[in-house]
């Protein structure tokens, strides 16, 4: 039925060790024998069994990726970065959605480990002690991707969310705005949520602008919640002149919510986001935002993981990628 290395050996008139050598590009094979073996392989249509290989060599050349939701554009972009680099280093990727739900995250970490992945890339919500504990049941390298753990003990690749938010709000302030609303993510989320909220507060504070709780709405990162938040702001006795949204999707919702109310962006109200999703340049006005290099986060974390897997020594296991203010058309000086 299935042709094995043994069949090839017989067909080529050599031992299976030799076949193994040529398949693995071991230089210690006479060119002539190598040729014979290749021919036998061709003739028989032999295909190496990666599972058997994995068992014998204790390496599977596959890495596990736990991701909140592949259908989310941001994470999909990260995933693409991961896969490109993985591919480059001849690794394959096992992808598991975990929806930022702890139990599910822990569960997939375990099944990934059962599958004997050579490494693990983790994107998720909060990284709790339970996560760390799950990680520690194995000794394959693991890197956090687009997150960090509180303790800072694990290798990770992320941006500085607090400063990204800070920079966005500073931009608004630089344009003369003082009454600046924020559409936040859930404060339980350390990165997209809490850190960005902190950045907002810090920017205000540094400029001597009093923090006003009524100017903050917590959204769920989605477009619709941007619309809702802005509807609320528009009812306020004293409207904000600018809105900072923790994510572009909410920012775009905000833009449309404002426009739907008959006001203009940035004429009446300026809007700024964070992320720089593709969509940001697919709306009118084009969204001013702080770019987060999603693809690179994936690529860099995968690259870091390859080093860890090869036991190369890495100088810096916690890397922070740069964010960048992208000025487009949704922010204007205060009227």
């Amino acid at each position: 039925m299935t042709v094995t290395i043994y069949d090839v050996a017989r067909e080529a008139g050599v031992s299976m060790a030799t076949v193994s050598r040529v398949v693995n590009n071991n230089p210690n094979v006479k060119p002539q024998t190598r040729k014979k073996v290749y021919e036998a392989i061709e003739r028989l249509g032999y295909r190496p069994n990666a599972v058997a290989r994995g068992l014998a060599s204790k390496k599977t050349t596959t890495v596990g990726v736990v991701i909140p939701d592949i259908a989310n554009a941001n994470f999909a972009e990260v995933a693409r970065g991961i896969e490109d680099i993985a591919n480059m280093y001849h690794y394959n990727i096992i992808l598991c959605n975990a929806d930022k739900r702890k139990e599910k995250e822990i569960r997939v970490i375990n099944t990934l480990l059962e599958k004997q992945v050579d490494g693990l890339l983790f994107m998720g919500g909060v990284v709790t002690d339970e996560h760390i504990q799950a990680f520690n049941t194995s000794n394959v390298p693991i890197v956090l991707c687009a997150t960090t753990d509180e303790k800072g003990t694990m290798p990770s690749v992320d941006i500085d969310h607090e400063t990204a938010a800070y920079d966005a709000v500073r931009k608004l302030i630089a344009e003369g705005h003082a009454r600046i609303a924020m559409i936040s993510g859930t404060l339980q989320d350390p990165a997209n949520g809490f850190a960005r909220y902190q950045g907002y507060k810090r920017a205000l504070e540094e400029s001597g602008i009093a923090f006003d709780e009524s100017l903050v709405r917590v959204g769920n990162y989605r477009y619709e919640s941007g619309i809702e938040a802005v509807q609320y702001f528009l009812e306020l006795a004293e409207r904000p002149t600018a809105v900072f949204a923790a994510t572009d999707e909410m920012a775009i919702g905000a833009i449309h919510g404002i426009q739907d109310a008959g006001l203009s962006v940035p004429g009446d109200i300026s809007v700024i986001g964070v992320d720089n999703i593709r969509l940001a340049s697919m709306v009118r006005p084009l969204l001013t935002t702080v770019a987060q290099p999603m693809y690179d986060i994936g690529a860099v974390s995968m690259r870091l993981l390859t080093k860890l897997m090869k036991k190369e020594n890495v100088e810096q296991a916690r890397v922070t990628l740069h964010h960048e203010l992208i000025v487009r058309n949704s922010v204007a000086p205060r009227g």
Copy 2:
């Protein structure tokens, strides 16, 4: 170092066969022994090695997915459908991007097969004889996802692209439009490209509208190419009153291109797309489009694959999912 089934057996004072049985939920184990084994597993922190399991049982409980580009929202949505159902049936997914490039597709098909996946889901560009040939080197079940092969010999799940396009154009005609432009995908692409182009022509033909080559522009599915196409149409001596775009992304580009030229959608020109991506309801005006059930295509094809893998007999191995016209605000009666 690593604890094996053998260690557990010793610890529990049973044979490894028994441990194997409890791990695999074989009912032929006395409850009491089962308990002993579980305790030993717990105490030792035993984790079954899926690779060894795979070698011995010839089943890996993982399926391969070749996808054009996970960062593309449509495919990401399909992938999510796949993963959800896979998860439900306790399969894991190995994800490979192949960018619709034949050589890369063939290559990943082979590595996936080497990894002994229990089944394969293929999304790609054209399915050539070479693909079929690659598929035939193995006897794991394979289903085409969001594509079909010309010959119609393989299991597949897709929508009827020709009719979807036809329905879109019929809508435009029903609103009184006769001068209808099309922004097409590449005609080499059987599904999103050629079939949709055919649907456009059929709709015109049936209504006795002469086909006018100058009203067709070939784009690359992207937003920017929608803008470019529409710029071209706007230069025409006799402008179209409606635009049919083969994908929503190009349709949205068209909307913005028209708006940027100072015209109104749908006031001056109506626009309709196909796909119903999330973005379609995140623009102004909201995009009228023909919905393609991406998530379901993924889910159904994975479900079909599970049946094939379990050798259940399937009545219908080629399934066509329904598309649906979603009327929103980008189409108006001809002025």
